[in-house]
Amino acid sequence: MATPTPAYLATIRGIDKFTEYTAYVFCLLNLPLIGANTWEVVSRYGLGEPTEWALDTTTQSYGAMFMLGAAYALSKGAHVRTDMLWENFSDRTKGLIDAAGYILFFMPTMIVLFWISIDDFFYSMSINERSNTTSWQPVLWPLRGVIPLACLLLFIQGIAELMKSLWAARTGQFLVHQEKLDL
């Protein structure tokens, strides 16, 4: 069996690790998401005064969490596929399809989305854009920045996935085993 060069393997492992560690940071967004809403209920019914900040905290931490979690999901092979034909393909065929998909679909899409969202991020920062859902009015540029950041992280992880699928296309064997996600 062919073995990949150390540099090839190191690149894949390095990107996987990078995505994993970023995921450990971003999953902390669960804290404000759960905490803000729990406190909102306690405060509204227990103390008789609703908070001003719970709603914005919720949408911001949720919006950032799922976008930034998408790259980690990619590294775990969790994004939903149509399995009907896929399950019966050989690993070589799977590698070929994925490699084509990453080059033709995935990477151009991420580049375009990065490019159309980065301007809005800079603009939002320059005018110090604020949320107007409540009187709390937190700044919005961090959330605007999540879109290009998510595209960047997805793109980086996409490189590792492309390398994995190219290897499978060449040798008929996957370097990394990925499990289906329970939904």
């Binding site: 902390l28 669960n30 759960i34 998909g101 899409t109 939904l183």
Partner: protein
Amino acid sequence: MTGDQILGLIMLVGMITVIFVGFPISFTLLFLGLVFGSIGLGADLTFNLAYLQIWGTMKDEVFPAVPLFIFMGFMTEQAGLMERLFAALRNLLAPVRGSLYLAVILTATIFAMATGIVGAAVTVLGIMAAPMMIKAGYDARLSSGAIAAGGTLGILIPPSVMLVVMGPTMGVPVNLLYSAAFGPGFLLAGMYIVYTLGRSFINPSLGPPVPKEDRIADPWIVIKEVIVGVLPLALLIGFTLGTILAGMATPTEAAACGASGATLLALCYRKLSFTVLKNAAVMTMMTAGVVILLAVASNVFGAVFTKLGTAQVITQALAAIPLPDMGKLIVIMIAVFLLGWPFEWPAIVLVFLPIVLPVVETLQLGGMNKLELLIWFGALIAVNLQTAFLSPPVAMSAYYLRNVVPQWSLGLIYRGMGDFMIIQVICLAIVILLPDIVLWLPRSLR
């Protein structure tokens, strides 16, 4: 048809063809939306449209309930509550014929009220119940079907994540969809129970009572088990779902309290550790990433599709089918049933549902107003998609079960699930014929 509409049709057919090949659906939809939009509408308009859809989904006020219910389910599972529930029910019901079937389905039904996804329910039930059922000489086909079908109730019975996703897609409040899904959810669970117990009564060899020597003789131990293992969970469920139904809290707020409560329960049962917390947080983020990114992608795709004008053409074509309204509904139900074979629920709810929705809105059935019609339709879709988990070749339940119960072959599990799929279809027919099963709770809450 205009050129744009034809382009949209090509886009739709292309999408279905391409996603069948197996590349992740989210990225395929994003790509096709951007490309076809740029051709038909121009790049500037398309990019604006795409950005607005992404931003809009990120600021959605309903979707945050998705990760929160996932977190809650994961925590209750990690707290070992399913094991406790099953043990308590098993001992309580031991003398009944087919008691293990009953314990499996009741455990699954109650657990379904604490979790929003099917997740590990089938796996956990398989690990706990299957060895006991095999040892007690239970019928393998009926056992595997009961575990697989029971385990999928999580996606129908509130707090189902599927219903949270369906709410914004259909423009219906999630609390109404929740109140609508209780009737069909309990009906289906009841039908599973009637089926398994009925067969055990007719033929006791299919599911004998638990042997005397395996029962717990002291009733106090059983009662204590129920109080320690079941009561806290029941309170958590009652609080979470109760506040949503009563309109006291939004689904997001209730879900957050549920997540906090489940974490507290895990702490009390001494199952909370740094690893458990980390896994729950990462799993939650990942699952939310998968489901909601697909929502983003189908919103981008759908926005382009609508703007090209093709959605309108399809609606008109479907509306012009010379069938009475009930016939149209049945055609849609058959289509959803068939889509459940190759596709998983996120793809069906997010990608295909919006295409038929305008037709559904025009239906005049049983004197229902439009809101009632929509929540009834949502409940029908939810029952219908139960079958998607049991229909090969992508029956997720079969794979989970096969992994943990190697004694049962995949063919046997499929036959067992096939029996329960028939029950699901009968349940769907009942709910179509008797909309009151869905509507009594939403009506009585208003």
